[in-house]
Subunit: 371 residues, 4 copies
């Protein structure tokens, strides 16, 4: 069991598959598979290209089965197969690989069975950026959100009982039972308003108007709570990411802890791919940059200077020259810390020593470039 | 009248009923009763299981009547019967117990009378968490909310007069009176848009477009006000809950009042049920915990250590070790104060003495565990 | 012209009418008049009570004409008739008084002419609380709101041109011209969605989906801007109202200006009518009150103590006793400054001298009550 | 090629066209052209005024072609033709000038070809104020917005697969394929709710209710994120604009940097056209003004005093006199810095020296006016 893989291509595939949640191949397989599944429900397409669609579906399924198999095997070699299978990722992988075959094996009609290919789309969830952040907001604000949800359900229930009482003699077909009235209430309270079920008695319309206005109120509360939670979470997230990066910049290392806390609250981290132009010559500048990791290249007249981890640039724009004086671009993947002019000014006012350091470094650099 | 209860089961029921608003039995009774009431409006279900539904309804009603009776009696023993009956809870209990019997006694048709079982659903309101918070936001922001409501009603009225004038010759059936036009306006202004009443003249459509856009504006104002009020209320609520808990942690008792105010603004309280895992070994940590009440158990190799009220844990993650080193779980209901890494750093910068205390305690604990 | 009024009732009417925008009589007249106008559009009501409705309309009109006449005359006596007539209030008064008679004089059919009674409803606008605040938010945030509006109109226009191009061959009746497509676009972009005009071609539906999602985006921007503006405005408004009141409380007069600025940012003003219970005995308290104007009565056992302008009460709850120890109610219209427990604690930490003053006053008061 | 322009009118046109994005003539041309294009789609108008509409369209087109030609030529003289043509403005200009002629040249039916006149409307985009601000919010909040978008698309997809499975046997015409179900899902999730496609099975309605409630949740998240981003961006933008202006006011030049940072965060810039009344005599005042650029005229009894760049006015209202004592209006385009009473008080508390300077200047000015 120690040498189950011979081919280098397969080894590369196994490596990529084990390391990341979604390889590029997996994204393509999801897109193709979902596309084929959607086409298979359209009679015209189904008739014209039946074979191709089925081939594509089986191909994608094979991909996900192999991917799942490789991951199970790799996890088993580390004796963590159970942990993998019970993790969120593992469950999604298992569903993607086994849902359709299981349905086919159970004798479900093929076109219906292939609908289970929707599980493939779920595989992208763990890769969505910022999802963790959303979940934290929902957790922290769970109590008020829950209370708004209960209010929503109460209005839903009371509204539908009232409409049932007021309308079921007039419109037995649409308001004949409370579940039917609940359908009306949810369509109305979410302001969707299909118009398939509409109260017609004056009193029924009055109640409906109250339900609609309550809908706006509930919605406003909901949004207000989420906005509040999101503001707090954004502040927290930025701080965490930045604190980590600030500690890598030697320039800040000499500062006392209270200045570092101040600086961290002001900086923003950005990740840039290689060969990206950070600063364009002649453009007005309103921020400076610190290099947390990676490298940039300054395109000075006659020579090119490289700045590595811990260096800073763009400070000229904040010290008086409003136009950028050179093109600066990344040479490889770089994590930069951005200090806006706004915060730079506040920081300088509070920590004059920091201003002196930046000034000294800028002069030193100017001298160096002249000689 | 001093010994009205003999059976221990009844005594337990009375105790539970008196102490809390909603016992678990009450929640089940509400769910069953509402379910039966909804089923009773569906002819199919009504035909098939008429007897069972009626039995269930009468059973739930009996429960609420008994609950109400016990509460009235208990309140009467404390000579507070009137206070109870006039309180919000008391009114809801009375309505739950008496609305249906009163309707039946007055000769209302049974299926209609049982609709009054909707009062049972209202009993859950006092138990909704965060409802007090919502009410405070509505009270504090009452003035601007009221002013938006007046705007809303004005747009509603002006829009419907305009549409009545423009459309009632073309569509006498739907825009024939101002109340009919008001129905159109409320359906439109809340962006529900059933489509049962739609202007067809060019001028009528222009007015309708303005009403719709006003609807967005009103909604935006409404949400903006609620979001603002909610942010302030959340801050206030957290502070109150936390201040109370902080005073129970001896670690903070030695700090000056300004540090305590600082700390309080940063901590968050969470309530955890018994046997909940707070910290999982090997997971990256970004917060530490103080125990305001309750107890936790640290699962160290070879032994289990219990930490009680006033202790703290999880500080290692904030002092450099990013991975949690042991499983920690609650042994009973615990109220914990959470200090996020973000705030921990800011706090340490402002109060170096606090950092030393935590450091010293962490070292002492490490020594203790070694010996 | 100096003694135009003889009857005291008329003099009282003139006084009230001149002083305030809307007397209670005016509110009643607006309500009755609008009600009669709405009824006059309903054929059933019109038939049954034609005379009464017409009498009510004429009565209300007479009221507004007299009110307008008195105001013009009073303004003329101060030589400010022109200023009054050109002010917002004056224009509304003039419209209320003259719109219907002018229409009748011009030979408009009576039932149509009486629709102009909608001008009466506009008279309540100047009295809406918080309207000035809303207007300020709209002014301060005018630029971003305008830019969102332009985006909205652009999406509207581009969406309707696209739908016209894609749908007008398929559905000439509903998408036959760009104005018709604009109607579809506004109904869709505001998420109203009547369903009277719906794209049916696949490409048309794709464009429609983009328009709908843009609608959500535009709406989110709109709400976000208003929420931001509202938060700033609320802060500003509270400060202004409170600063004025704080200056009337002698207790704060001895503090330095920076403490006053701190205090002002924490206090909230409330206006209470006479005979309102501010504090109820036995209820847990979480704030204290300062009296900016008016008077309150403390209901102590055996005697009643009155506290006037500049006094404070309810401080016990913040100094340790969490339950209120006496009923306190207003004796006349009072403006109170509320200090929440949250802010009390922060304030005490920052200004220990303030804590001592409150403590000393509380002890002095306790002594006084004992003797 | 150095003297291609002889006529002074043409020279003026060229000057205006080169300097600004949209001249007033261009705005008129856009309005007329779009109007004519809309009319050309209406058969009635088309029949009655066909010649006029076509003439107007050709006239506007000629204007845009000439404008584009002039700009290309001017750019070519500075050897920047390529830069201009590839810039956003250049691409919009090119599209406005060439889209319709190109379509006509390719043999497209004229009425269809003229629909491309919608490109003219896009020319107003670069001139929308605050658009840059909106774009920055979208960029900074891109990650969470993207994550909400992915959630939205997932709910869309899962909802439509579920409805297809549940409804396609019952309603083959409307839920017969997944793309058809997707149409239903997007109409529902955006709460538009046309009502052309509505689930009718109980399970289908349950799924639809979940989709609608998810729609509210997604919308709330979306708005919350935008509100958060907008609040941060507004703060940043105000600071930048104000910092620049503060540096032009000599009064602030003597202050230390930390006071300037404080002041900057409190001031708001406003731009006023010539002959605008800034302060009206007798009106209560709640702010003072600093002149960053331009000039104002104080209308004192008997004489008029002009205040230029760097002066301030309106401070009386903040120092005790609540009513403005003179009319003050701008004489030319002025940029003023507004200091609200709120912030004035806080500033005075923190910087007593600033209060003294303002007081001294106010007294000096009073003396000067008396002599």
């Amino acid at each position: 069991m120690t040498k189950p893989l011979q081919s280098p291509a397969l080894a590369a595939f196994v490596g990529a598959t084990t390391g990341r949640n979604m390889t590029n191949a997996a994204y393509i397989a999801v897109a193709l598979g979902i596309g084929a599944m959607v086409l298979s429900t359209m009679d015209a397409a189904h008739g014209a290209a039946h074979r191709w669609i089925v081939a594509l579906l089986w191909g994608c399924l094979a991909f996900f089965v192999v991917e799942w198999g490789v991951r199970v095997q790799q996890a088993a070699r580390k004796r963590r197969a159970a942990a993998y299978l019970l993790s969120g990722r593992g469950l999604l992988d298992t569903a993607s690989a086994l849902a359709v075959p299981a349905a086919l094996a159970l004798g479900v009609e093929p076109r219906t069975a292939w609908l289970l290919a929707f599980t493939w789309a779920l595989k992208v969830i763990p890769g969505v950026p910022g999802l963790r952040q959303l979940r934290r907001v929902l957790v922290v604000e769970a109590r008020p959100l829950l209370s708004v949800l209960v209010l929503f359900l109460l209005v839903l229930f009371l509204g539908s009982v009232a409409e049932y009482a007021l309308e079921h003699d007039e419109q037995p077909a649409t308001f004949g039972t409370i579940p039917a009235a609940l359908w009306w209430a949810v369509v109305t309270l979410t302001t969707t308003g299909y118009g398939d079920v509409v109260p017609i008695t004056p009193l029924g319309r009055l109640v409906a108007a109250c339900v609609m206005i309550s809908g706006l109120g509930v919605f406003g509360l909901w949004t207000g709570i989420l906005a509040t939670g999101f503001a707090a979470e954004t502040r927290r997230d930025n701080f965490l990411k930045t604190w980590e990066s600030v500690s890598r910049v030697p320039f800040f290392a000499s500062l006392g802890p209270s200045t570092i806390a101040d600086v961290t609250q002001m900086l923003r981290t950005i990740d840039l791919p290689p060969r990206t132009i950070v600063i364009r010559k002649g453009v007005p500048g309103d921020c400076m940059y610190f290099i947390a990791s990676g490298e940039v290249e300054v395109d000075l007249p006659g020579k090119k200077v490289r700045l590595g981890e811990g260096a800073f640039f763009g400070e000229m724009a904040l010290l008086g020259n409003s136009l950028r004086s050179a093109n600066i671009s990344t040479t490889r993947l770089a994590k930069l810390l951005v200090l806006d002019l706004v915060d730079f000014r506040v920081l300088m006012a509070r920590h004059p020593d920091l201003a002196q350091s930046i000034d000294a470094e800028a002069q030193r650099r100017a001298m160096e470039n002249l000689t």
